[in-house]
Symmetry: C2
Subunit: 341 residues, 2 copies
Amino acid sequence: MTAKMNRQWRLAARPSGLIQESDFEWREEPIPTPGDNEILVRNIYLSLDPTNRGWLRETKSYVPPVAIGEVMRGGTIGVVEQSHHPDFQAGDIVLGFLGWQDYAITNGAALTKLPVDPALPLTAYLGLFGIIGPTAYFGLLDIGQPKAGETLVVSAAAGAVGSLVGQIGKIKGCRVVGIAGSDEKCRWITEELGFDAAINYKTEPVLERLKTHCPNGIDVYFENVGGKILDAVLSLINIKGRIALCGLIAQYNATEPVPGPYNFRTILTQRVRIEGFIVLDYRERFMKAYEALGRWLVEGKIQYRVDVIDGLENAPRGINKLFDGTNKGKLIVKVSEEPSV
Amino acid sequence: MTAKMNRQWRLAARPSGLIQESDFEWREEPIPTPGDNEILVRNIYLSLDPTNRGWLRETKSYVPPVAIGEVMRGGTIGVVEQSHHPDFQAGDIVLGFLGWQDYAITNGAALTKLPVDPALPLTAYLGLFGIIGPTAYFGLLDIGQPKAGETLVVSAAAGAVGSLVGQIGKIKGCRVVGIAGSDEKCRWITEELGFDAAINYKTEPVLERLKTHCPNGIDVYFENVGGKILDAVLSLINIKGRIALCGLIAQYNATEPVPGPYNFRTILTQRVRIEGFIVLDYRERFMKAYEALGRWLVEGKIQYRVDVIDGLENAPRGINKLFDGTNKGKLIVKVSEEPSV
């Protein structure tokens, strides 16, 4: 399954609503050759994340938009195939943002070399470490500041970030209620991950169920989705509640302007703090999150799961699983085979 | 002008939209007599504040709603006329919440005795001290955390709180831009109070003018109004911007649900912190604010102005000046004469 050409998805048009395959152009180019101080990396895994959708908008965001004609941006794990750079050698496994393609040439400046640990699958670096773990860790602990005995609500609770947030909340002694999009997900987070309760937002009345499952109100909300769920949470939030704003998946594909929550005034009357964050701002502290997550993983206190789509050609269709809620855990595309150890 | 009866405005109906005089009932009752450990207070000044409107709603807020049939709640300065309480004597001037009436009986527990300072008019305790000063002081400094050289934007900038916020911002070395509702107000805050720029939201395009007056973006926003002005500010807010949410005057009289800002997503992409606050949470630190405000007043670094409506009978009509923007400074009703010193 090692491509003879460099297959790529380049952005062809800015999507309106859900991403269409026709928003991208499939290209096959010759495999490029690295120059001095450059390396050739073959991508093995490609990370698909809700935030990718924001990169396709023309409007201002935390990173520049992907340009029309550019290879689609995406987090990747790859293997160095050729190195003309003193810091890298063939066979090195590297984490970075090399995009939706088989091969990339880079000077390596933005890459992280990964240790090869036989006990840890490579996908763990996208599903638990990488940016997912620090997103959950810093978003919950730095911004949410949960205290033992408080009630934590998490949306997109069976997603890569949300499932970690809930588990960290349990480690910190919170009552944890997750909101997810299927009965299977709800069972997973309660029976396997130890959430105290789960709500299937597709089949259950969210506000009513939150009232039942949060008898002492809500102290911390880890927000991934926005929309009606945010309004339901605001109507139950306690005085001095904290909302860590990590994502707004519910509106990423909107084609019309989306209003903020109707219960916005509650931020005032309940003295709520809402704070948005981008995990890349915490880059210098990532190691702290990795150490804690690694320890909890070894101790059996946290779990994660990955949902692997086979083949780069399926990336544009696959990414919508994040928006229709059909993904089960961290969504990853397998681009090529892992090197045999 | 000392009433022979206890004239009162009692809530008759929950207003829909702007307050109507018919939402209150005018009553004249005998002046009550204090019992043991009680005092009789004659109200001299009544404070009218935007937050009063929220107390008339049936929905959850930071204080219980005023009940139908109850004397309308309001901040007051009064004079003790009879005391059967060891801590008070006739002639004491007291600050509290004795409501829209001439006289009240109280045990004094929720009152603050005011010093009599010939250099300071009594209205200063409603216009600068009382709760106005601490609202501006803690909202700006604790929540907004302005740094020298940053840009601060204030809405309702010629109001009692907003005008102080801008002046404190100047003391702290910020570039300060105020948004107000008349040319006279804009002149006052720039020419008299030292704001760097002012925008008349009734006659100027707010977003365009903000772009002009905030060439380095907006770091801190002190929010009193909500609505379109909040959206304009969000579209120019800098990374790690702070929004102190003090009030949402623009929606207090709404009869339909009001959505939050359309630029809500900017809170995420720019890593903004929005925090609501209620000044009463800072009660134990009020003295700190009073000391600073008193010093700045003496040093000529801050000014305030009061807009006095004559006569308790005019309170229901007068309060709408806060919502149509026709008040000039802290809105106060003169209920009876100050005692001669």
